[in-house]
C-alpha cells in the first residue's frame, strides 16, 4: 500500500504546488479529483508491474482504474451538458487525448484477458511487449490530457514535473524492480482512496478562504 499512497501523494501534491485553493466549484473539482485518481492508478499499475506480477491482482486493479476513469468521464458528461460539446469534432486536442487514453485503457484490459489475448498475440512475450507499448501510449495521452488542459497545473513547473513523473514511471522499470516485491493493492482499497482523495481535492479548493 505504501507505493499506492506514494503515487497518489505525488500526483495530488503536484496539483497543489501553485494556487492550491483555486477551484471551479464542488462539482467541477470533485470530477477532476476522480480524473487525477484514475491517473495515479494508471501510474501505480505500471510501477507494480515492474516485478514478478500477481496477474490476477493486476487485472482486478485494472478494472478499478478503468472504473474510476469512466466515473471521471461520465461525471462531467452527465452533470454538465456543455462538456459533450468538447467531445465532438473540433474539440480541443487535449480532450481527444483524454478520450483516446480512456479507450486505450479499456482495450489494454479487455485484450489482455484470455481467450482474446490468444487471438491477438501468438505468444506471451509478444503479449507482454504490446501490452507495455499500449500502456505507454495510455500514460502518454493521459499526461497530455492533464498537462495541456491546464486546469490545475497553472505553473510551468507543474506540467514539467507531471511529465517527468510519467517518464520516470514509464521508463524507470529497472529502478522500480529494485524496490523488491510489492503486493498489488486491492481494487476496493484503490477506489476508496480515489473517492477520499477526490473529496479532499474538492474540499481544499472550495472552502471559504
Amino acid at each position: 500500500m505504501k507505493a499506492l499512497y506514494a503515487t497518489f501523494g505525488a500526483v495530488f501534491l503536484l496539483t497543489f504546488l501553485s494556487a492550491p485553493t483555486m477551484g471551479a466549484g464542488w462539482f467541477w473539482d470533485a470530477g477532476n479529483g476522480l480524473g487525477f485518481a484514475a491517473y495515479a492508478g494508471l501510474l501505480y499499475l505500471t510501477i507494480t508491474s515492474s516485478r514478478r506480477l500477481d496477474v490476477r491482482a493486476h487485472q482486478v486493479l485494472g478494472y478499478g482504474v478503468l472504473f474510476v476513469a469512466v466515473a471521471h468521464a461520465f461525471w462531467f458528461m452527465l452533470g454538465d451538458a456543455a462538456v459533450v460539446e468538447f467531445m465532438k469534432l473540433g474539440a480541443p486536442d487535449y480532450m481527444w487525448h483524454g478520450i483516446v487514453s480512456m479507450l486505450l485503457l479499456g482495450i489494454l484490459i479487455t485484450v489482455a484477458l484470455v481467450p482474446d489475448r490468444f487471438r491477438f498475440h501468438r505468444d506471451y512475450p509478444a503479449f507482454r511487449y504490446w501490452h507495455r507499448v499500449v500502456a505507454v501510449a495510455t500514460i502518454g495521452t493521459a499526461t497530455y490530457h492533464i498537462a495541456v488542459s491546464n486546469f490545475y497545473l497553472g505553473a510551468w513547473y507543474q506540467s514539467l514535473l507531471l511529465v517527468l513523473l510519467a517518464l520516470a514511471v514509464t521508463f524507470g522499470r529497472e529502478y522500480w524492480a529494485k524496490l523488491g516485491q510489492l503486493g498489488v493493492a486491492k481494487a476496493t482499497a484503490y477506489v476508496a482512496i480515489s473517492v477520499v482523495c477526490a473529496a479532499i481535492f474538492a474540499v481544499v479548493r472550495n472552502l471559504p478562504t
Binding site: 478494472y63 469512466v70 452527465l78 460539446e85 480541443p92 486546469f151
Partner: protein
Amino acid sequence: MKTVFAVTVLLGVLVVVFGSPVTKERPARGYFYGSTEKILPMNFAHDDHVPVNCVECHHNYIDNTGGGLCMSCHVTDAAVWPQLENQFHDLCRGCHAEKAALGEDGGPPRACMACHLGDDLP
C-alpha cells in the same frame, strides 16, 4: 468485461450525441451573434464586471482593430473566428484564475454550463 466496456462506450457515444439525460438545460449550437458557423451560446454578466478596466477585454478601444461589439469580429472575421474558443476561454478563465491565485475577489473559474447558456435562458 468486453461487453461491459463496449456498453459503456456506447452509452458515452449516446450521451455525446443526444446530450445528458440528467441535466435540465442543454446548450444548443446555433448561428449566434451573426456567426457563419454554429457555435455555443454564451452569456456574460457585464454588470458584474464593471470594476474591470474596459480595455482588459475591449482591446479594440486602444488598438484600432474595430469599433463594434466583441462578436462582430470574433464570430464573423474569417481570420479571427477559428480562434474564438481559445481566445475567450483564455481571456475569461485566465482572468478568473489569476484573480483567484492572487486572492482577489473575482470568483473562481467555473463549470462550462455557467457560461454556455444563452442570455435568454434561465
